[in-house]
């Protein structure tokens, strides 16, 4: 039996009937056609589906949409105008932080959260904090460089995500 939920997605008020078994990821991807949120495992390990739920990163593949009634969701699409995310994306571009791009949306969400919480993180800290986002292409080196560079730029501009 479907359940009605209302929630905010990227600033828009959404009201939909969902099957209880629908994950947030499938809700975003199939129902709202927001396909930046990728699925790499559907059991919480790879981080490709990472989105912001009420201001904190969460795995969209193992969150049930029905349980998120009233929540505020933000996906990579919802950060199009975000200044800090703009800096992070540019850093990923400059520092070659992506290859096939499949892990990238999840990486960006986690990176932004990391920079917000630990703007001064060093290489080891960045690697630890990003260890829940798997990338099969880059070997992470470019990603670590990108995050370091973005954090440096944001802090020198006095900007915090």
């Amino acid at each position: 039996m479907k359940v009605t939920i209302s929630l905010t997605v990227n600033g828009a008020q959404i009201r939909r009937d969902v099957e209880p078994r629908t994950s947030l990821a499938d809700f975003l991807r199939e129902e709202l056609r927001l396909t930046a949120t990728h699925l790499g495992c559907e059991h919480g390990v790879c981080g490709a589906c990472t989105v912001m739920v009420d201001g904190a990163p969460a795995r969209a593949c193992i969150a049930l949409a029905v349980s998120l009634d009233g929540a505020e969701i933000r996906t990579v699409e919802g950060f199009a105008e975000d200044a800090a995310m703009g800096v992070i994306k540019e850093a990923f571009h400059q520092e070659h932080g992506l290859q096939c791009g499949f892990c990238t949306p999840g990486m960006l969400i986690s990176a932004r959260d990391l920079i917000a919480r630990h703007p001064e993180a060093d290489d080891v800290g960045i690697r630890r904090a990003m260890s829940g986002n798997l990338c099969r292409c880059t070997g992470y080196q470019g990603i670590v460089r990108s995050i370091k560079s973005a954090a440096r730029q944001l802090s020198s501009q006095g900007k915090q995500p």
Binding site: E42, V53, I62, A63
Partner: protein
């Protein structure tokens, strides 16, 4: 990898959740953070027909600081411990452990109650709560009861929880200010479940030591002889033998490699506490 259909009940209170569990007659399960349950649902490994979502029961998110213990609602998340958004009576052990569980995105949603209820032998909270001599407050149709963490876990994924009971809170006694903790976890990768983990609590002032080894294919093992041998000031080699023998005596059929690993980890847990 999508779940089989189920119906959904959003619990309004603990009593409401317990009533729904009772009504579900074994085919209903609590959804807390969903970080273990939903993967199992996605993999179709958790047969159930009703999910009882307790995430809106606000009382379960609270933590209370009492004189000789701290009480955490079942829904306190790993991240809340990590960020010290809840009081700590463990000299920093609980925030430290929390920060080692999985990854931030999982810690933001995963809860202490869910972790304990699952009783994965390799999970971090289980070993930690046994080490800290914590208690679980359990709500059922007949009311509330308390059970020591050490008695709560019966084996791998097996607990003392009846099918219509749920964890309401976890109570952790305040540890003495002179106590030091040691923690050692080995996992194949960052954020993975432990292959072996040990927590040692040492209070030299009180001549007290406690050593617990987790990820042992069953309930965490409390190594009392080893703790005593440590207090007795036995040499490292002798201590290693005591640990090994005590692990063997637990009858868990460890392979030689596992036994070495657990022995090392237990030693390092003790050393870590002693070094502080």
């Amino acid at each position: 990898m999508k779940p089989a259909p189920f119906s959904y009940h959003r619990a309004t209170s603990v009593d409401d959740a317990v009533a729904a569990l009772t009504q579900g007659a074994g085919m209903a399960r609590i959804l807390a953070g969903g970080q273990s349950l939903v993967p199992m649902l996605n993999l179709r490994l958790a047969p159930l027909d009703t999910v009882i979502d307790i995430s809106r029961v606000d009382s379960l998110r609270q933590a209370h600081d009492d004189a000789d213990s701290v009480r955490y609602g079942a829904l306190v998340t790993h991240a809340a411990f990590e960020d010290r958004r809840v009081p700590d009576g463990s000299n920093g052990l609980m925030p430290f452990v929390a920060g080692q569980i999985a990854y931030r995105a999982v810690r933001n949603r995963g809860t202490i109650g869910g972790s304990l209820a699952l009783a994965d032998p390799a999970a971090d909270w289980l070993t930690t709560l046994v080490a800290l001599e914590g208690k679980l407050l359990i709500a059922g149709p007949e009311g509330r009861r308390a059970v020591a963490a050490a008695d709560f876990v019966i084996g791998s994924y097996l607990t003392d929880l009846a099918e219509n009971e749920m964890i309401e809170a976890v109570v952790v006694p305040r540890r003495s200010a002179t106590e030091r903790w040691g923690h050692y976890k080995v996992a194949r990768k960052t954020g993975e479940y432990a292959e072996s983990m040990a927590i040692a609590l040492v209070d030299k002032a009180r001549n007290y030591a406690r050593l617990v080894v987790g990820a042992t294919d069953g309930a965490p093992l409390v190594l009392e002889q080893a703790a005593q041998a440590f207090l007795d000031g036995r040499t490292d080699d002798a201590l290693r033998v005591v640990i090994r023998d005590e692990l063997l005596a637990a009858g868990r059929e460890f392979s030689a490699a596992r036994l070495t690993m657990h022995t090392t980890v237990a030693m390092r847990g003790l050393k870590g506490a002693a070094a502080k």
